[in-house]
């Protein structure tokens, strides 16, 4: 019984710590916008270098979607695969593109950010920063969060475009739909609102997963095993939070902005 109470208290303590960490990190956003050197370095690492991976994964994602969905639709009513254009456009813009990009970002970036900051913590590099009157939050955490907020919308947009192209290739080449019809039907159900909502989601999710990754890195303790532990926590928590935040934000959009 005592251990359950203790664990619950630890859990609350952790939430409190994370909240304080977040507030502290967001406080330095104006400073990092005025001195964007670290931000640019992290945009390269977090955003630019993730692009090839997103592009390659998304094109196959699109090819598979085009193939599977057309096949299913043709099996129900023959000669309807041109409508896959509409389905793909809406699904990719609203959910599939942002979530694919976010999960790939978790896999490639959150893991490396946590491992890097965790190693810096256990080798006292973070302590060394503060001895040079450099606030480690300002120097290491905030630039990464900003980079996440800026990168994910761009990566998500890339994913949508490439996956859509992949789907189009399949539907057009395998099922003989003409490009003009496919394009027309793809545009038909899309609304500008969907794009804006999707961008808002990606800004929030991109910042939040970097917050988790940096937090886990900062609270690393105890050598190589500790770094491994933090990296697991970071990837698991942020993957879950991608889906949970997506659910919450989508529900809010449907309730208040329809």
């Amino acid at each position: 019984m005592n251990s359950i109470i203790q664990r619950f208290r630890d859990y609350l303590h952790d939430i409190g710590q994370f909240t304080l960490f977040s507030i502290e990190a967001l406080r330095f956003i104006p400073y990092n916008l005025r001195h964007p050197k670290e931000l640019f370095i992290n945009l390269m690492g977090i955003g630019l270098k993730t692009m090839p991976m997103i592009a390659v994964t998304s094109i196959f994602y699109g090819l598979i979607m085009g193939l599977q969905l057309s096949d299913a639709l043709e099996a129900i009513i023959a000669g309807t695969s041109q409508f896959i254009g509409s389905a793909l456009a809406v699904a990719l813009v609203k959910e599939l593109g942002p979530i694919l990009a976010a999960l790939l970002m978790v896999a490639r970036v959150c893991s490396s950010v946590t491992a890097q900051l965790g190693t810096m913590r256990v080798t006292e590099q973070i302590d060394a920063l503060s001895t040079f009157a450099v606030n480690p939050m300002r120097h290491l955490v905030t630039p990464r969060i900003l980079a996440g907020m800026i990168s994910l919308p761009i990566l998500g947009f890339l994913s949508v475009v490439v996956a859509f192209a992949g789907g189009a290739v399949m539907v057009i080449s395998v099922y003989g739909v003409t490009p003009a019809v496919f394009w027309e039907l793809a545009q038909y159900p899309l609304k500008i609102r969907f794009v804006i909502q999707s961008l808002i989601k990606m800004v929030i999710i991109g910042g939040y997963i970097m917050l988790i990754a940096t937090y886990q890195g900062f609270k690393t303790k105890g050598g190589a095993a500790g770094v491994g532990e933090s990296t697991i926590n970071s990837v698991v928590t942020s993957s879950f939070m991608v889906i949970l935040l997506d659910f919450i934000l989508t529900a809010m959009f449907i309730m208040f902005w329809k």
């Binding site: 080798t123 006292e124 590099q125 302590d127 060394a128 503060s130 001895t131 040079f132 009157a133």
Partner: protein, 277 residues
């Protein structure tokens, strides 16, 4: 001995980590220009003491004054002023491995000495590398350095911004005997050139006697001995004697064994308690 001014005044410094009182009301004066060596076993709070000095940890009780002025690391302006006066050599070097040697040494200058021009900074970086006898390696990556070279580069980074007090956390731990004595000699040479106050934490008695003007021994969160290397030889304190001789039998191990026995007893009792439920 000439009378020196007090550089750092520590009064009633206490620090609790993981429910354990690591420092328990430490009082200590460190004099201007001396090399003060803190000795003691691993984990008795030596490093915690110097981390409190430079503001990586904050004391739970007590005060630290530098040149008669209270240090307050909660106050941004005051803490920046205090940090300019300190340099620290970390145990593992704590060099930024994403940067080159030169960029590492430039880092404190960029952030602590913003008033310098780029040319002046570069000149200082080169001079610091010369001082630690590693001229011309500023373009190497940190990962390509050996353990001894890393210590030297870290030392160059600790002194480049011209601090008034340099803190050394285990400068010779993990180095072979020859590298250890070259680092010790380097510390003495730097001392002559810079003429600043050094505070060294070590558990190596040989190094302590070689480089120290005064030595303090930390035991159970407090200083149980302060004196010159000669006093250390002639002390009657059984604890200090055991540590200096490196004997496996004596009051320190007796207390340690009693402590271990009580931990084992407690864990057994806890296990029995769990079984009963």
């Amino acid at each position: 001995m000439e009378r020196k001014d007090v550089k750092i005044e520590i009064r009633g410094l206490s620090k609790i980590l993981n429910n354990r009182k690591v420092l328990d009301g430490v009082n200590l004066d460190i004099l201007e220009g001396e090399t003060f060596v803190l000795i003691g076993q691993s984990g008795v709070g030596k490093s915690v003491l110097i981390k409190n000095l430079i503001g990586i940890m904050h004391p739970d009780a007590g005060t630290i004054s530098l040149d008669g002025e209270l240090i307050d690391y909660e106050n941004v302006e005051k803490s920046d002023r205090a940090r300019r006066k300190f340099g620290m050599l970390f145990q593992g070097g704590a060099l930024f491995d994403s940067l080159t040697v030169g960029e590492n040494i430039l880092f404190p200058l960029d952030h602590l000495r913003g008033e310098l021009s780029d040319a002046q900074k570069e000149e200082k970086v080169l001079r610091a590398l010369e001082m630690v006898e590693l001229p011309g390696i500023e373009n190497l990556m940190i990962s390509s350095l050996s353990g001894g070279m890393m210590k030297r580069v870290a030392l160059a980074r600790a002194i480049v911004a011209e601090p008034e007090v340099v803190l050394f956390d285990e400068p010779t731990t993990g180095l072979d005997p020859i590298t250890t004595s070259t680092i010790n000699d380097l510390i003495l040479t730097l001392k002559k050139k810079l003429n600043t106050t050094f505070v060294v934490v070590t558990h190596d008695i040989g190094s302590a006697k070689y480089i120290g003007d005064r030595i303090g021994m930390v035991y159970r969160g407090n200083l149980i001995f302060i004196g010159t290397p000669r006093d250390l030889e002639n002390t009657d304190n059984e604890y200090v004697k055991q540590f200096v001789r490196g004997a496996s039998e004596g009051p320190i191990t007796d207390e340690y064994n009693a402590n271990v026995a009580s931990i084992i007893r407690q864990s057994r009792e806890a296990a029995a308690e769990r079984k009963r439920r």
